[in-house]
Symmetry: C2
Subunit: 355 residues, 2 copies
C-alpha cells in the first residue's frame, strides 16, 4: 500500500478534527499545507499534529496542487472559498474532505459536483455528528425499525456565540447560519432516520448580536418528510456563556411504536433514552464514537473510492438541503425539494450503480 | 354577594377540571346539568363533585338555559357542538367556560364573538397550562425580561393515544389535532412570552393509527414571532403506553441574554431550568399552581366581568391561531396572521378599553 499524501488547504475551521484522525493512520502523511489567504498561518495545526510539523508550506493551493500532488485535499477556509478550492483540488484529481457547507450557492455546488464526477473523486464534508455515540445509538434503533414508522423528528443545534469572525456578517462570504449550522441538524436527521425531506419552510434572524447583524443568531426550519412525518430544526448561537458545554445538540424521534431522545453534549459521551411501546423508558447503551475521516481515507487507501460514491452524493444533497432551507427562510416561502443529489438522481447522472 | 349559578352543558372533556375548582367556592352552586346528546350521562361528575350531586338534570341545554337560568355555563361536549352551545348560552346571558377550541371553524368563532360582545359576557376556554407551576415560573422570567429579547420558542405537546372516540376521525366533528392539542402549545407560548405570531407554516399526518386515520397523530407548526424571533410547535399522540406520564409537555425559550426550559410533567410538579448570561444553570423555584377557572368565576362574582375582556379576546385569538395553523397544514401554505381578536382589534370592535 503506497503512502497517501494529504494536502491541507486553508487554515480555518475544523481542520483539526480531520488531522486528529490522520495522526492514527501510519500510511498517511501530510505532504503540504497551503495558504488560501496571505495571512493564513498553520503554526497551531503544526504544533497540535506531529504529521503536519514537517509538511511543506505553500504560498497558494494552486502551487501545492501542482508541485506537491496530494492524493487527498483537506480544505478549511473562509466559507465562500470552499467550493472554489475544492473545485481546483478535484480538477487536480484529489479526493476531498471539505469544511461544510461544500458551497454557499447552488450553482457553485453544481459546478463542484460536475468536477467531482468528471474526475471520479470522492468528496465529503466535515459533518461528523454521525460519529457521536448518542447519534449512533439513536440511528441503530431508528433504522432497525424498533420505533416503527417515523412520525416526528426534532433536532436542535445550540451553540455559544463566542468569537465569530467579522466576515460571518457578510452573506456573500459566510452564506448563512442555516448552511453553516443547520446543515448539521439536516445531517443528524439523515444519519438517525435515513428519511428524505420533501418540503421545507424556514425563518431566521439576529436578535442578540447587532455587531454582526448579517449573521443569523437563530433560525428554524419546518420539514415535511418524504412518505409522511414532520420535522423541526432549531438553530441558535445564543447559548449563554455560563452554560456547562459549548453546545447542547439534541435529536428526538417519535415513531409509531416508540420514541427516542439523544443529547450529544450531556453525560460523559452523550445520552440516548428510549421509550418503546408498552415498555418503560431506558437509557440506550452507547457504542464507540465513529471516525468518518479515517474511514474515508482508508477506503481510498485500499482502492475502494468507488464505494464512497453514495456518501459523496449524500454530502452534496445535505449541502443542497441546507441551501434550500436558507432560501425558504430568506424568501418566506415553502420550498419543494427536488431529487437533486439523491442516490437515484446521482446514479442517473453518473450512469453508475451506487453501493 | 348572591350565589352564582353554574349550568353544565354536555358530559365530555375537561369539565372535571372546572368543577374541581368550583368545589372550593362557597358562593357558587351547580344549578343544572344539561345533556347535549340523549346518551350524555353526568353520573361520574356527580360522584366526583358533591356540588353536582343535587343539580337538576335537563334533557336539553335550551331547556336548562330557559328554566334554570345559570349565570355561568360550563360547556364540554363533542367539539363541533361547543360553539353552538356556547352561542346559545351567551344569548341567554351566561358567561362561558368552554372546552377548547371555542369553535372548529373560523365563521363559527366569529359568530360566537359577535354574540359574546352583544351580550357583554366573558368567555374563556379550558386552557389551563398557564396555571402549571413550571409555566408560571417560566413566564415570570421571560416576561420580566430576564432572558432579554425572545429569539426562539420551542413547544411540545406529547400525549399517549389512549382511547380516542370514533368521532375524532371525522374532521367536521373533531376539527383536527392542531385545534385540539396544538392550541395548548399556542397558549403556552403566549402565557410564557406574551409574543404575538405573524406567520405560520404547518404539516400534520397520521402515522400509527389507521383505525382513526382522520385524526392526526402528529403535527408541527413553524411560527414567525411578531417583531422577530421564531417558534416551533410539535404535537403528537404517539407517547408510548409504558411512558411514566400521560404527557411530556415542554417549552424552551432562548433569549438574547439567557434561556429556559420548562417540563410540565417531569418532577413532582414540573421543572424549570434557566441559564442566564454568564451564570451557571439553575433550577427555578416553582410557584403554586394557578386556578384560572376559580379566578374567572370570582371576577364575575364580584361584578368585575369587564376585567375579563382581555382574557376573552385572548381566548378567541388563541382559538383563531389554532384554526390558522390547521389551515396552513391542510393547505400547505404559509398563513399570514392578521390582527383578529388581538387586544387592539377587540378594543376597536367593541369600542371599549380593555384592562
Amino acid at each position: 500500500m503506497k503512502t497517501m499524501r494529504v494536502g491541507v488547504i486553508g487554515a480555518w475551521g475544523h481542520l483539526g478534527s480531520v488531522l486528529e484522525q490522520i495522526e492514527a493512520l501510519p500510511e498517511v502523511e501530510i505532504s503540504g499545507l497551503a495558504r488560501v489567504f496571505p495571512q493564513d498561518r498553520h503554526d497551531q495545526l503544526q504544533q497540535a499534529y506531529p504529521k503536519a510539523l514537517h509538511a511543506k508550506v505553500h504560498g497558494t493551493y494552486q502551487e501545492m496542487l501542482e508541485s506537491n500532488r496530494p492524493d487527498i485535499a483537506v480544505i478549511g477556509t473562509r466559507l465562500d472559498q470552499i467550493s472554489v478550492a475544492a473545485n481546483a483540488a478535484a480538477q487536480a484529481g484529489c479526493h476531498l474532505i471539505c469544511e461544510k457547507p461544500l458551497a454557499i450557492e447552488v450553482p457553485a455546488l453544481a459546478q463542484l459536483w460536475t468536477t467531482v464526477q468528471a474526475r471520479s473523486v470522492a468528496c465529503i464534508s466535515m459533518l461528523a455528528n454521525g460519529d457521536r455515540p448518542a447519534i449512533r445509538a439513536a440511528a441503530q434503533m431508528v433504522r432497525s425499525g424498533e420505533l416503527g414508522a417515523v412520525a416526528v423528528v426534532n433536532v436542535r443545534k445550540s451553540y455559544r456565540w463566542g468569537e465569530r469572525p467579522e466576515w460571518f456578517g457578510r452573506r456573500e462570504l459566510y452564506g448563512g447560519t442555516i448552511p453553516w449550522i443547520g446543515i448539521h441538524a439536516l445531517d443528524m436527521l439523515w444519519e438517525v432516520t435515513g428519511k428524505e425531506i420533501s418540503m421545507m419552510a424556514g425563518w431566521q434572524g439576529n436578535m442578540g448580536h447587532p455587531e454582526l447583524s448579517g449573521c443569523q443568531d437563530h433560525a428554524a426550519l419546518l420539514l415535511e418528510l418524504a412518505g409522511g412525518g414532520v420535522g423541526t430544526i432549531t438553530v441558535d448561537f445564543l447559548r449563554p456563556a455560563g452554560a456547562p458545554t459549548h453546545g447542547d445538540d439534541w435529536i428526538r424521534v417519535v415513531g409509531s411504536r416508540g420514541q427516542i431522545e439523544a443529547y450529544l453534549d450531556r453525560g460523559p459521551s452523550g445520552t440516548c433514552h428510549a421509550i418503546l411501546e408498552n415498555a418503560v423508558g431506558r437509557d440506550v447503551k452507547l457504542p464507540e464514537a465513529g471516525k468518518v475521516f479515517e474511514r474515508f481515507i482508508r477506503a481510498i487507501e485500499s482502492g475502494k473510492a468507488g464505494e464512497l460514491r453514495a456518501e459523496t452524493a449524500r454530502t452534496f444533497r445535505t449541502t443542497y438541503l441546507s441551501l434550500l432551507g436558507r432560501q425558504a427562510a430568506e424568501q418566506n416561502h415553502i420550498c419543494r425539494v427536488d431529487d437533486r443529489y439523491s442516490l437515484q438522481w446521482a446514479q442517473k447522472f453518473s450512469g453508475q450503480k451506487y453501493g
